[in-house]
Symmetry: C2
DNA sequence: GTCTATACACTGATAGAC
DNA sequence: GTCTATCAGTGTATAGAC
């Protein structure tokens, strides 16, 4: 391994370890020692490469959510925009469940760290709000309060804890034969879209 | 104040402080010192009255969610049962937002503390699942996957962070004139019910 | 029951060898 | 760049005065 590549490698190992641990134990519940143990590197390397635990947190989002939902919507067909929005969000959640998990925890406790993520979150929030209002104006959606509806949709999109003890082992309901990973992905996106669009009485 | 009542008073002050802080900073992010400062009592009293920080956590739910959603549903009219379920949940969230907040954080990180709350959570989860399946069997609801639909509904019910920076100050949309607290409550319940019931195409 | 003072493990961060 | 050893600070819990 080339010397100059080692730094990158260690940084990535730390980021992956931190992602896993932050999602599982929260930011405060995770110690730098745990991160380094999980990553298999020495304790000092978090400070060396990132300059502290908090910067690992920010690097997590810069690395794994670089242009997360940077898509713009022209609001010409809000129903279609909403579908695209939901789809993109659901796919990101499938790709990076830990990141969504961390984000949700931080949003819940209004952590001070959110300030530096405000751009990401606020943009999303605003996009959704604009789509909803445009769709309502065009008669495509049916809801009373934009503020609450944004909450409902975000809640639907964000919450997906497949804890073993909440979903006890039981026969696959409809999906009797094991779907492939790709099929399962597609299904989740479809189901989520359907629930949300139904929720605001939009055609699918 | 009667001597024997002082203990109760201090315990309640600690519980209220802990509820506020756990919701805001998470369990691990909250220190016993912070709890006691917020409660205005000496550091030692958490250990004295509860036997440690973790027991304060459990006492929180025993105290403020004594028979939370103990309601039974006969599943004769699942659509009505679901409405009652959503209503009861939404009202509890209005009454004890911090508790829902804490619960959500813990569920997200699958904290070890959840084990002792399993009965509460699992019962809820199961009730909702049973209502959904009964309603589907009766043709009242329309959805493909019970598992995912439970997730969507719980997400909708649980997520409601009214952070000032997510909902920037802007003119009350529909609700132009200030509603009373009771009216606002009623509205939230109605909106939530509507979104969820629409989501599974149930009549309202 | 409530307080202050303290014990002692563990935290994040750094210094210095390699 | 990476490691081990160590620091100062803070965590929870307890001992003992009142």
């Amino acid at each position: 391994m080339k010397p100059e590549a080692q730094g990158k490698d260690v940084k990535l190992k730390i980021l992956n370890a931190a992602k896993k641990l932050f999602a599982k134990k929260g930011f405060e519940g995770t110690t730098v020692r745990q991160i380094c143990d999980e990553a298999g590197v020495a304790l000092a390397l978090v400070s060396y490469h990132f300059g502290g635990k908090e910067n690992v947190f920010y690097a997590l989002f810069e690395t794994f959510a670089p242009a997360f939902l940077a898509a713009e919507y022209d609001l010409e067909d809000p129903a279609q925009d909403l579908q695209a929005f939901v789809r993109e969000f659901a796919l990101f959640r499938l790709a990076e469940p830990e990141l969504i998990n961390i984000l949700q925890q931080e949003v819940m406790m209004e952590s001070p760290r959110l300030e530096k993520l405000q751009s990401i979150i606020y943009v999303l929030w605003r996009q959704l709000r604009l789509i909803l209002e445009a769709g309502k104006a065009k008669g495509q959606f049916e809801f009373d309060s934009t503020r609450h509806t944004v909450h409902f949709i975000v809640g639907t999109l964000v919450f997906s804890r497949s804890s073993p003890f909440l979903d006890p082992v039981f026969q696959d309901e409809n999906e009797s034969n094991q779907p492939t990973a790709a099929e399962a992905e597609k299904m989740v996106v479809e189901l989520t879209t359907k629930f949300i669009l139904n929720g605001i009485k939009s055609k699918i």
